[in-house]
């Protein structure tokens, strides 16, 4: 399988955006904020986080709403929301392409890619963050269970192995299987993390290109 690819700032009108392709999955995330918030959603000392996921076809269903909730639990601890109180931070994720390998794992493969693309878009937008999160999808050998692991690639503990901050599992598994899967997940996360850093470096390099003669 070819390594994942990403593009930062593909959308000129959004404050920050990223497109990410991993195998059959292509996602596009955009960030707008801090912007004016509806009085109903206003939080006195924090920014309000609005996450919207749009499916590739049809209208938003329970599946997208569930994914939004999972994504929120992974992303919101990363963002320093007190920096912009009484504002709105809008995160929109468009599923461009997603192949349904098996119905059970669809959500999990999507979740791992969604976390990566949203973190990239947040970094692109310059939203104040406590760290960068990388996520990976791991399926157990017999296909009985699927996991998504999220490790912090920067801003975690001193040792990268300390950085497990997000787990979402589905299916039947025991402790041994989980530990094995988490080890694979950690390796994949660190790989994805390095790629993410490179994409950001590329983007900053492009922004600073004017310094050349």
């Amino acid at each position: 399988m070819s390594p994942p690819t990403a593009l930062l700032s593909p959308l000129p009108m959004a404050d920050g955006s990223a497109q990410y392709t991993d195998g059959p999955t292509t996602l596009l995330a955009s960030i707008n904020g801090p912007i004016e918030v509806k009085p109903r959603d206003e939080i006195p000392l924090e920014a309000y986080l609005e996450i919207t996921i749009r499916p590739s076809a049809g209208v938003t269903s329970v599946r997208e709403k569930h994914l939004e909730a999972l994504l929120r639990s992974a992303i919101s601890p990363l963002i320093m929301r007190t920096v912009y109180p009484r504002t709105l931070l809008q995160i929109t994720l468009q599923i461009i392409q997603h192949e349904q390998a098996s119905a059970a794992c669809t959500l999990h493969t999507l979740l791992a890619s969604a976390i990566v693309v949203v973190v990239l878009a947040l970094v692109d937008a310059g939203v104040p963050m406590k760290g960068m999160l990388a996520a990976a999808f791991v399926e157990e050998a017999d296909g009985s269970a699927a996991h998504v692991f999220g490790y912090t690639v920067t801003g975690g503990g001193r040792d990268p192995s300390e950085g497990l901050v997000f787990v979402e599992s589905d299916g039947a598994f025991d402790e041994k299987g989980f530990v094995e899967a988490s080890e694979i997940g950690r390796k994949r996360c660190l790989e994805v993390g390095e790629l993410m850093k490179n994409w950001v470096r590329e983007k900053v390099g492009k922004d600073m290109r004017y310094r050349l003669k």
Partner: protein, 274 residues
């Protein structure tokens, strides 16, 4: 010729500051979180800048959404007038006026304004103003005069002309920030080379100011220009063709090197028939 930018990522803890004179207090700028007593954590991906002379430290990165910060000169749009002040919108690089943060510009915050003689601004008027108060909990306040002299010094209503957006990094470059930080980095690299006992070799980096496009345009065309730190540029010239040429050149030179910018302007001027 290659550009090496050392990028720091959110969450990275910076090594303790090397202070030449000790005791000096550093001012912590955007992109960094200060945790007492002296830990600095990066919260925005970008390049770290340290000015040992002015004792400042900040993260340099490009962006599109402007957040008000004190003493920034910005281009704002008047929304409406109240009994003692104008309510203005501070647009960012790409945003329409309606979705942006609001600011207060008192009627008396103009040079030589009194209760009887004050500039009449209407809805949609554009002003070049300085942010006199910025706090995350309250709306920012604006002033249209120089804080030191009390004179207008270019602040005030921008009459006529044309407005367009550029990225925040580009706006700062047009205002000459890149020239300052560029010479800062050059000095640092020279000091490092000296410390290693080598002779400094010019690699062709940081010699360009990032606003060659303006220098080149200014030589052949006559126009007025105002750049706001909120990523808005105002151009005024007698001829719409000239105005549009200036806009196109500035917008297209975002990712170009100094030489390429000059080339772009030359071609644009040729097309304009100058």
């Amino acid at each position: 010729m290659s550009l090496v930018v050392q990028v720091h990522f959110p969450g990275e803890t910076l090594p303790p500051l090397e202070d030449e004179k000790k005791k000096a207090t550093f001012k912590v700028g955007p992109g960094l979180t200060h945790i007492l007593p002296s830990t600095l954590i990066v919260n925005r991906a970008g390049e770290l800048n340290i000015d040992q002379r002015k004792h400042t430290i900040w993260m340099e990165s490009n962006g599109k959404r402007y957040v008000a910060s004190q003493n920034d000169a910005i281009i704002a749009t008047v929304l409406r007038s109240t009994s003692d002040s104008y309510i203005c919108a501070i647009p960012s690089s790409n945003s329409p006026v309606s979705s942006t943060s609001q600011a207060v510009l008192p009627h008396l915050a103009f040079s030589q304004a009194t209760k009887k003689t004050r500039p009449m601004l209407h809805q949609g008027s554009v002003v070049y103003a300085r942010i006199s108060l910025a706090n995350k909990h309250i709306d920012p306040e604006l002033e249209c005069y120089d804080a030191d002299s009390g004179k207008a010094e270019g602040f005030g209503e921008l009459k006529g002309g044309f407005i367009f957006g550029v990225s925040l990094g580009m706006a700062r470059r047009l205002l000459g920030d890149a020239k300052k930080t560029g010479s800062l980095r050059l000095r640092q690299r020279k000091a490092e080379a000296e410390r290693r006992g080598e002779k400094y070799q010019d690699a062709g980096v940081d010699v360009s100011s990032g606003r060659e496009v303006l220098e080149e345009l200014g030589e052949s065309l006559s126009f007025e220009l105002a750049v706001g730190r909120n990523g808005r540029v105002w151009v005024h010239s007698g001829d719409p063709k000239t105005t549009l040429c200036v806009m196109r050149c500035i917008q297209q030179s975002e990712f170009l090197t100094g030489k390429e910018q000059r080339q772009l302007v030359k071609e644009a001027l040729k097309a304009l028939g100058q």
